[in-house]
């Protein structure tokens, strides 16, 4: 389980780097915003 440390009555916790540890980018699905001019030809 993810460890989240409370700081007293504060709504803040230790650095969110911890949150990133829990993240996985597993899926190939991508959504790409475009105005049709996002290519830069080599």
């Amino acid at each position: 389980m993810e460890k989240i440390q409370s700081e007293g009555h504060s709504r803040q916790t230790k650095p969110a780097v911890d949150l990133l540890y829990s993240v996985s980018l597993r899926y190939p699905n991508r959504l790409i915003p475009t105005n049709g001019r996002f290519f830069g030809v080599i």
Binding site: M1, E2, I4, S6, E7, S10, R11, Q12, T13, K14, P15, A16, V17, D18, L19, L20, Y21, S22, V23, S24, L25, R26, Y27, P28, N29, R30, L31, I32, P33, T34, N35, G36, F38, F39, G40, V41, I42
Partner: protein, 228 residues
């Protein structure tokens, strides 16, 4: 049309003081049911979206739509929706976890649940007219400095503390998406500089330097879903 239970457009302030569109968040559920939508483009501002599953190339299977959206439903289903605005096309739904797969039910989310990663390279694509009631995130000078950055969206119970903001971490919390859920936006510097992608039916590659939206999941939940 019924008024959404929640509807907010969130903007960020870039290094030049320009206010740029980040995401529109809606809860379009009815009664006790919650249905969340996340929209990252604004077609009237000239920005649509391409859906792709391929790496290193554009394909004929890529789907172009005026205003794609990502939805997270009460039953745990999460879809990328490409709505049709033409008689020649149809609305297409993609479930990144695989057809029929479900994530946590919205009501079961407690700790911060990663859902979406939005990588922004091209700030100019973040366009939507702002209103006086819009939410504007102040500039984080070491992250929104004109270079690429990631915005990672988490859902979590309203009782869960937010992370502490740092030089290398921007934090913004949007409260009240549902009775119990808040949205956490965490901003990080990104080392993504774009990528080369091949054009269909050619050997020519082009340098793609646009923004990318991807679905996230917890490491510990990977075994719960089939990987397409």
């Amino acid at each position: 049309m019924t008024r959404p239970k929640f509807k907010e457009s969130v903007y960020f302030t870039d290094h030049l003081g320009e206010i740029r569109f980040l995401v529109q968040v809606l809860n379009v559920g009815k009664g006790m049911t919650d249905e969340l939508k996340f929209i990252f483009t604004h077609s009237a501002s000239g920005v649509g979206g391409v859906y792709t599953e391929s790496e290193g190339e554009w394909t004929h299977g890529d789907i172009i739509r005026l205003q794609p959206e990502i939805s997270y439903h009460s039953d745990g289903s999460m879809h990328i929706k490409m709505p049709s605005h033409s008689e020649r096309t149809e609305t297409i739904y993609k479930n990144p976890m695989g057809a029929g797969s479900r994530r946590k039910h919205l009501a079961d989310i407690f700790l911060w649940e990663p859902i979406i990663k939005y990588t922004i390279l091209d700030y100019s694509l973040c366009k939507k007219p702002i209103r006086s009631t819009s939410i504007v995130i102040p500039n984080h000078s070491s992250i929104m400095d004109g270079t690429p950055f990631d915005c990672v969206l988490f859902l979590g119970n309203s009782s869960i503390p937010s992370p502490k903001e740092r030089v290398d971490l921007g934090v913004f919390r949007l409260s009240g998406l549902t009775t119990n859920l808040d949205l956490l936006c965490c901003f990080y510097e990104s080392d993504y500089k774009g990528e080369y992608r091949r054009i269909p039916n050619t050997t020519e590659r082009v340098l793609f330097k646009g923004n990318i939206i991807q679905i996230l999941i917890r490491h510990e939940d990977l075994n719960m879903y089939k990987v397409p």
